[in-house]
């Protein structure tokens, strides 16, 4: 336990060091940073523009109004954005394994995970978070919800748990690249595909698909289940009410799974060297 904790501290320290270095070098080119951050802002904004275009023709999608869809959009966007900011470069792991630079990380006296996670830390990814946060803010101002302290607390909690769940998916995807180096895109299906799905109400999708993202890849806990509770809507799967609050437990379980996957991946690399 003690060893684990000191490894964790070491890892966080190394992560901080590398992130600080990247941030410093990014800010040296201020214009370039602002432009790419703006680009990120616009890139994710297009998705929402599409939703707004849809709503020029309709008043409700799957029974959800525009502010309600915007709430789903904002929460999944912020959650993914946070995970992307913290662990966003992990999908380059396959490239590292292929070109041999993975070895370089293994000869340094700090945990490999911290180095991979912090590699090319890009502050411009704040653009995505900001864009999603703007949409979220707008939706919160328009939603008709009886705000109780519990409900108010639920919003930051779901963002945090969502970010952790997405982070675990990033990690598992990266661990998979130890085995299949060209499979970066599979990861995208779960992260970017997942967030696209979570932007829309669960009522839109086939039940099997909703079951899939609840029980198999538990993305539903990022925002769907807590949001349904918040918006006072029924769960299309008819799960018991307490399931809506399982977010933290699911996030913790996903972290455990990610940890195991990462360890297995790294062990595989260290026995095969590729």
């Amino acid at each position: 336990m003690w060893a684990l904790r000191s490894r964790l501290v070491e890892g966080l320290r190394a992560y901080g060091l590398i992130v600080a270095m990247w941030t410093r070098s990014t800010l040296a080119y201020r214009t370039s940073f602002l432009l790419t951050a703006l680009g990120n802002f616009a890139a994710t904004g297009l998705d929402f523009l599409a939703i707004m275009l849809m709503f020029t023709h309709i008043t409700a999608l799957g029974g959800f109004s525009l502010p309600e869809v915007a709430f789903l959009y904002g929460t999944s966007g912020v959650a993914l954005g946070l995970a992307d900011l913290v662990l966003g470069s992990m999908d380059r792991l396959g490239t590292r394994v292929r070109d041999g630079t993975m070895d370089v990380l293994l000869v340094r006296p700090v945990p490999v995970f911290a180095q991979v996670a912090a590699d090319r830390f890009a502050l411009r990814r704040l653009g995505r978070i900001l864009q999603a946060a703007v949409v979220l803010g707008w939706s919160l101002s328009r939603l008709e919800v009886d705000w109780t302290p519990g409900k108010v607390l639920l919003v930051p909690l779901m963002l945090l748990c969502g970010a952790v769940i997405f982070g675990a998916v990033f990690t598992i995807g990266a661990a998979f690249q130890f085995v299949a180096q060209d499979a970066a895109e599979v990861q995208n299906s779960f992260t970017y595909g997942g967030t696209t799905m979570l932007q829309y109400p669960p009522t839109v999708f086939a039940k099997d698909l909703v079951r899939g993202v609840t029980f198999v890849v538990p993305l539903a806990f990022v925002n769907w289940l807590p949001a349904l509770r918040l918006l006072g809507r029924d769960d299309p799967l008819g799960l018991p009410g307490w399931v809506d609050f399982l977010g933290p437990a699911v996030a913790a379980a996903m972290c455990g799974l990610a940890w195991l996957a990462w360890r297995a991946g790294l062990r595989n690399y260290r026995s095969t060297g590729s």
Binding site: M21, V104, L106, R108, V110, R267, R270, T272
Partner: protein, 356 residues
Amino acid sequence: MRSGTGDTVRGPEEAGAVSHDPEESGAVGRGPSGGEPGFIELDGVEKVFHVRRKAGRLRRVREEVRAVDGISFRVPRGAMVGYIGPNGAGKSTTVKMLTGILVPSGGRLRVAGIDPARERTRLARRVGVVFGQRTTLWWDLPLRDSYELVRRMYRIPEAAYRRNLERCVELLDLEKLLPVPVRQLSLGQRMRGDIAAALLHDPEVLYLDEPTIGLDVISKAKVRGFLREVNAERGTTVLLTTHDLTDIEQLCRRVMVIDHGRLVYDGGLDGLHAVGRSERTLVVDLERELPPIEGVPGARTVKVEGPRQWLAFPAAQSAAPVVSAVAERYPLVDLSVREPDIEDVISRMYADNTAP
């Protein structure tokens, strides 16, 4: 596959891999030689890979590749040892096991008493690694920032860091390169930068994987001079894999040759030449086309192409008498000496081995 067992290691001394001339323990040679526990110890180390190979259009078969096939050697603290062999012989795999990147499939391996595979991060603080082909620096960051990051990662005390950096900057001529992003450095500059990065934390052992590959003559000389200095001054143990026999000649008194995952030679460089009967080549440009040069003691003409002729002579022999013998009797325009190829040397060792 070759016939024979793991102990076909050939050296000048029959005792084999373990014993060395006390002199060979290097300038700093701490501790007695002989049965002493080495700083680097390998006992029957193996690394087996399973690869999938294409067999026909769709079928793939699993195949076992023994990249390192039972290697044993000891390197005392402060020694500077060459580790050579043809491509794919198992050199890099060995270095990867020594650094803990790869976990051995069998045998026992210790560096400074530590099992690298189990305590990789602890060992990392005491080890410096330079991969010739890949940089350990941060591609997009200026050299100085990379060093700063190394300092923090390795928790190098400020004073030691400053002292080491100054020394490296001076000896490797890095002053002008410090503000330059690594990706803009030439290969030779980058290699120098990499070597400095590997030494900032005062490692007790330095592994260099092809440190002079692709470098120009001046960079090579600078790198070699620096390594000699580091080894002499700090007593850093150095293990050097290379393709370039000149690296070995100028730096190492002891050399180990690996082929097909086995240690085929461990001893002095002179011994290697004797065993391999390797030859150097004198390339002679004459004023005009002439019949093959004859009557040079110890040398024979191996090739003639217009006015240019190639003379082979034993690598252990000095080139001077050959040159003077040629110059005495032939109209010379230009001369150059080619060093023997490692591949060549090793293939000759084989020729010896298989001969009855």
